[in-house]
């Protein structure tokens, strides 16, 4: 596959290195002369010096035949516009853009630049992952398909531990797709009995999170509103 990577910072350089190792054809575009000279020592003819915001630079990199453009500069506006032009002017099939400031993400969406990747969001997700029982972790949002995949950890007091999966009344628009137990994952059948410590993965329509939390959460104590 022919791939153009824009920005030879730490992200771009390492990305290029990995892609080259996987036998892809890669051109990295870097606009900072000193950085370019450094990276060129290793990547040689796979690096091009120039400002990829300029159309003729992209054309010199051969964007007309690129199958993937990855924009990972430290400048969100650059990343957004390079990807927009790649897709809309040069019909590049796939693009990936880096979001530096998560507050700019709506702008990426507005310009149709998807998917976009933000380190801040990724780290937040990892943090979320450390959140204890019943905190619902979003693993994947399939925005176009209007589906999401979530993960929950079952505690000792969960309503569903000790029960068969077949006996659970899963909320409409949700489906249990896998169980992680003692580090191993499997697809549960109707006879699977859920245990405390299980991590369950479910796919659901957006907005069903609360129903699921209620079903899998702790059984109500006796001191609630009676």
């Amino acid at each position: 596959m022919y791939i153009i990577v824009v920005g030879a910072g730490k992200v771009g350089w390492n990305l290029a290195r990995e892609l080259l190792e996987k036998s892809h054809e890669v051109t990295v575009i870097e606009s900072n002369r000193r950085r370019y000279l450094t990276v060129e020592q290793e990547l040689e003819h796979n690096v091009l010096y120039g400002d990829a915001s300029e159309l003729w630079v992209l054309e010199r990199a051969g964007i007309q035949r690129a199958e993937l453009v990855i924009a990972v500069t430290g400048d969100d506006e650059d990343n957004m516009l390079i990807c927009q032009v790649a897709r809309e002017k040069y019909d590049v099939e796939r693009i990936i853009a880096r979001v530096n400031n998560p507050r700019n993400r709506p702008h990426f969406d507005l310009l149709g630049v998807k998917p976009s990747v933000s380190a801040t969001d990724l780290i937040l997700r990892l943090l979320e992952h450390e959140v204890p029982e019943y905190g619902l972790v979003h693993l994947l949002d399939l925005q176009e398909e209007q589906l999401e995949i979530i993960e929950m950890l079952l505690g000792k007091d969960s309503r569903v531990t000790g029960r068969r999966v077949g006996d659970l009344s899963m909320p409409e628009g949700s489906l249990l797709i896998s169980v992680l137990r003692n580090g191993k994952g499997f697809v549960p059948g109707p006879d699977t009995v859920l245990e405390p410590g299980d991590e369950v993965l479910a796919v659901l329509d957006p907005g069903r999170e609360d129903d699921l939390k209620e079903l899998f959460g702790p059984a109500a104590g006796g001191n609630g509103a009676g």
Binding site: S53, E54, D75, E77, R103, P106, H107, L110
Partner: protein, 146 residues
Amino acid sequence: MFILIVGCGRVGSSVARSMLSEGHEVSCLDEDPESHTRLEVGLDQGWEDLGGRFTVGTGLETDALVAAGIEKADAFIASTNGDNTNIVISQIAQRRYEVPTVIARILDPLRAEWYRHQGLNTVCPTRVAIDMLESAVREGARREVA
């Protein structure tokens, strides 16, 4: 008409003054608080006293755009010193806030042309300079021959 101008440099501030003197409502947004001074060059009254508005912030911050009144703007001018910024914020004005008239200053002639084809109203000062220089040279050559 309510006009929002983002980027209050030499170009933005001149347009702002002209539009205000022609009786339009004018609001300016610039990240540099000092650019307010530039607005008042040649005026014998303060910018606000004459009815103008000025907000500090960048065009990528939606809060700043809203504070500057984008939601009721009839016209939006992107005249910061960065092409990329102007292209992005004018598309935000057009697509997200549906401002009826959106004008972007783009120095790069190639991109100015392409975005014009995409439906953006672009003004390219470089193109104007090229055209003027070329015709000045041709004019000179013609006189030489004559």
